[in-house]
Symmetry: C2
């Protein structure tokens, strides 16, 4: 029985992986820099392909938000190339010995980073994910199968062609970055069953895509799920700082997963904080949906439902609730949160520690904007996504999160039975 | 709609988890020591329950090997209590800050260990897993659901009663260690669907159990799968040392996953090594199945099939193959291995490095016995199993592998948009 096309592709990608893992640190850096150069050289071709995708998206009636994510211009392609250079410049993670210990019997035990193997990236819309995901996987010594959305098919193919040119120029198998261009959903289904070939699947996109992958996968999955992020303004907050964190978190880029969706305000500071905050939010065009106590401060505030508290609006909409303290804020987050990012504004160190300990989210910010929960902002260079799965990696995932530590034990003939 | 019994149990276990995570390091140590004391005090009761399980196992015609795994005596119960004391004495992992970095904008970024949450342990036969798994989960701040095999039902219940007594005495919810005693397989199926409540499922037992869990799980799974472990005797090996590693790896405990199943011998050393080795193996009652080149050294060697090279014998049987060098050994391991443990015997540092780099197994041993791939032997105190999943943890898993690192970011009002 011959392999199906998807299985054959995965077999070829897996066969290409050892060549990537075997590269020296300098050669891997050179490969990523060459990919960046190919992207810059291929910019015109990429933009022409993207124009085709955009025309089809318009004809198909895709939403403005989706079309914005799909859209590329010269600056976005250049930024993508810059990201590859940044990944190239990051310290190498592969082969790194993270611990070394000598046991009483003389055995030297090392924890050493090796590649995961073959990663399947299943994503939507934004074509820059194609280059970012490929570069991070290669940086960590992995091969990758990219399955982007059908709406970005031509753009993704043009970007992949640049990456392949760099691989070939380095004498490496292009299959280390394998692309499934065919939009049939059956291919994703089949990919997700290949537990003997694929070490990790990463879905990135809308909720329905992630649920589809989680539901059907027989391979390990790390989810990059919605961000229902909270800002809790404590009794001991500096109101001006809290307002900065609120406006930055809600309005600087409302369509992303680390934007603030719900504001929780301590009842004691609400009279000093909420009137100013509600005025500022209105000035920024933010629609506010609040609890009864919030609504006492402004007529324009609509009543918030439980659905509003659970919502990832990804828009200029904010849910607001007045709470009686840190514990009430934590209880609200435990009930409605998505384990993504939580922020406390406070000058009370004890309240801050209580908040940090009381939430299990991937990132907890004390007096800092939720918008910093991002690989580049937190020093990873770039990210393949922000994990909300409490396993392997939690929060922004860079190259290191695409490796695994294994044991290397060096002895002088030690045996266990005597 | 009220929750099913399994869902209700998981909800209660999850509700109990924060109380465990909130314990001080000293209180958690005290809890585990109290569990050890309860096991010692309850030894007679546990042994009586185990005698009942053993009688039913005998009546049901369970194999001698399974009955040996099921069997408890006073020494085994005492060893189990000692393991709990060892876990108690290990340094606390929870809350540990593994990295701290100050970014140019003044943000202090910490990686902090927190509990995974709720772990489901699905296992067979050995009742000591009940205490080990519970203790490691609690050490890392998790709650745990234990679903042991029906053959060990009374033993597991008696052990769990001791653990619950210690939890109650400490004023903690017994549900932090929840036991599903009902042997119906539907309960496991349902447990594996609870992706909103369970953070990790760990199956530990025979191949069919692990396949069942992997096939049906909608929650993350870390597999503890078979060990087809190899010893490669390089051209530059010390033959006496290599023989020690072979006899220890194959015969010291043939029924465990870190035993050697296949011996690979460099053709250049075969004339000096194999005759002595085959004689020693015969003296230890080991049946040898070899390639044609191996069989040239002894008439008693049966021919090895591809199935033999893929087999986890768990018995005094060994597959042997003569190979032409490190690369041929690595190719054999890539084809037949299970990513568990590989050993090279060599005095050639270059050959050792080539071997280490060329295999992706969870543990690679240079001049040390495969039998050292074990949590207690490698300094973890104890283990919940040996992961062969290349994600989250790879190799022996102790308490640290039952935590996840998340980001804590401390600022002074930093925002991203300006």
């Amino acid at each position: 029985m011959s392999a199906t096309p998807v299985r054959a592709l995965a077999l070829t990608a897996r066969a290409a992986q050892p060549a990537i893992a075997a590269l020296t640190s300098a050669a891997r850096r050179g490969l990523l820099a060459a990919m960046a150069a190919q992207l810059r050289a291929g910019s015109t071709t990429i933009l022409a392909a993207n124009a085709g995708d955009m025309a089809r998206a318009q004809a198909a009636g895709l939403s403005a938000a989706l079309r914005d994510r799909l859209y590329l211009d010269a600056a976005r392609v250049a930024a993508s190339a810059d990201a590859l250079d940044a990944i190239a410049a990051q310290p190498d993670v592969l082969g790194q010995v993270t611990r070394r210990e000598t046991l009483p019997n003389g055995l030297v035990v090392e924890h050493q980073r090796i590649a995961l193997g073959l990663v399947a990236m299943i994503y939507e819309a934004r074509p820059n994910v194609t280059a970012d995901a490929a570069a991070l996987c290669l940086k960590a010594g992995n091969a990758v199968i990219l399955r982007g959305g059908s709406e970005a098919r031509a753009s993704n193919a043009a970007i992949a062609a640049c990456l392949h040119a760099a691989l070939r120029a380095a004498g490496l198998p292009a299959a280390a970055v394998s692309v499934i261009g065919d939009p049939a959903r059956e291919h994703v289904l089949e990919l997700l069953q290949l537990s003997d070939l694929i070490d990790l699947a990463i879905p990135r996109g809308g909720e329905s895509l992630i649920r589809f992958v989680a539901e059907h996968a027989r391979v390990p999955v790390i989810k990059h799920y919605k961000g229902v992020c909270h800002l809790y303004v404590d009794r001991a907050a500096d109101p001006a700082m809290a307002l900065d964190l609120l406006i930055d978190g809600k309005t600087s880029r409302p369509g992303v997963c680390n934007a603030i969706e719900t504001l929780l305000v301590h009842a004691d500071i609400a009279p000093r904080f909420l009137p100013t905050a509600l005025t500022a939010l209105a000035a920024h065009g933010v629609e506010v949906r609040g609890c009864a106590r919030t609504r006492a401060y402004a007529d324009a505030v609509l009543p918030a439902s439980a659905d509003d508290y659970a919502a990832e609006f990804l828009d200029l909409i904010l849910a607001v609730r007045v709470v009686d303290g840190v514990d009430a804020a934590l209880a609200h987050i435990a009930q409605y949160g998505s384990d993504h990012t939580e922020v406390i504004a406070t000058n009370d160190a004890q309240a801050a520690e209580r908040f940090v300990r009381g939430t299990r989210s991937a990132a907890v910010m004390v007096n800092a904007s939720s918008r910093f929960n991002d690989g580049a902002e937190l020093g990873l260079g770039a990210e393949i996504g922000i994990s909300t799965t409490r396993l392997h990696a939690y929060g922004p995932m860079g190259a290191e999160a695409l490796t695994i530590e294994r044991y290397v034990v060096r002895g002088a003939g030690q045996v266990r039975s005597r």
